[in-house]
Amino acid sequence: MSIFEYNGSALVAMVGKNCFAIASDRRLGVQLQTIATDFQKIYQIHDRLFLGLSGLGTDAQTLYQRLVFRHKLYQLREERDMKPETFASLVSALLYEKRFGPYFCQPVIAGLGDEDKPFICTMDSIGAKELAKDFVVAGTASESLYGACEAMFKPDMEPEELFETVSQALLSSVDRDCLSGWGGHVYVVTPTEVKERMLKGRMD
């Protein structure tokens, strides 16, 4: 069994009209056994930047702690928040530092950049960035997520429609993956507010 499939995860981020959504499943498992159904995989870095970490839970926690540390230091020095593009480069650099002993994580970064333009990207475990204009996916359910998102995505969706689309894509994909699921956690971010919602899907 692959080390990336040890804990199980599903992550998706989607771009809408001056907004973005980032969603994850809630399962924490150890191979076939489910340990918890309220495990957090999406972290807020600052009020317009979110980081989702899929893959091995311990590395996701370590990476999150290192990135929060680096961002806090940046805030102290620059007296402002990091832009999403800059943060993505930071994550990529941190991951490539461990090129020959990597963190077993696939991050998804979503934020509002200059002029409230939504920015999303994902990268592999050694920091190869993949910028996309529509959606990015990660985790054990990524293949199902690619299909669901491709089918359901439309450009320039309003926040409410975006929420519905992301939720349906996430729930239908995790239902085909035994290692992810047990509900969903969706953040819809506009320039003025952040809406956090829990989804109830098939609780298995």
């Binding site: 804990n7 340990i35 926690q61 370590t62």
Partner: protein, 204 residues
């Protein structure tokens, strides 16, 4: 097959562990205490590699005492759990400790809490948790009968149900268990559940 499990009740947390010290097919000792009292209001139940278990848990216990000596106040349960995770995580890619830990504690303003910490340093705050082959039985029993805010009698009754299940369904089931609880009055041993007692030392 080491069994450790625990749950959070109304104003207390309970941790149960088997007490067999096993080496291959030989039981060295039927009354090995695997739940360490970290400080006055914390319990650390550990399972895994015997040498690592004792060395690592004692190392954490001594470091916690040191913090208390230096700063005059004890660590909170969350701080202790995160410190332990940090030690496991930094050792993970050099010289990993093969120890799974259930950390239970009581804090004055927060109440009881239980933390699941596996050997690769995945940390999660939970209401009920279990490690080992016994977890297949004890987690299922707890999923069925657990509810939040259980009284001590109800919780011990559930613990006994889990122990009965492990004894009847696990092929190399450990015969003896120790139950420890932590509440506002501190961490202490509650009871032993023994079916095999060590032979008394003959007096000459």
């Amino acid at each position: 097959m080491e069994c450790v499990f625990g749950l959070v009740g109304n104003g207390f947390a309970v941790v149960v562990a088997d007490t067999s010290a096993v080496h291959s097919i030989l039981v060295h000792k039927p009354n090995e205490d695997k739940i360490l009292l970290l400080d006055s209001h914390k319990l650390m139940g550990a399972s895994g590699e015997p040498g690592d278990r004792v060395q690592f848990t004692e190392y954490i216990q001594k470091n916690m005492s040191l913090y208390q000596f230096r700063n005059g106040i004890p660590l909170t349960t969350a701080a202790a759990a995160n410190f332990t995770r940090g030690e496991l995580a930094s050792a993970l890619r050099k010289n990993p400790y093969h120890v799974n830990i259930l950390l239970a504690g009581y804090d004055k303003d927060i109440g009881p809490s239980l933390y699941y910490l596996d050997y690769i340093a995945t940390l999660h705050k939970v209401d009920k948790a279990a490690f080992g082959y016994g977890s297949y039985f004890s987690l299922a029993m707890m999923d069925r009968h657990y509810h939040s805010g259980m009284s001590l009698e109800e919780a011990i009754d559930l613990v006994d149900k889990c122990i009965t299940e492990i004894r009847s369904r696990l092929v190399v089931a450990p015969p003896n268990f120790v139950i420890k609880i932590v509440d506002k009055d501190g961490a202490r041993e509650y009871a032993w559940r023994e079916t095999i007692k060590d032979a008394p030392i003959p007096s000459d």
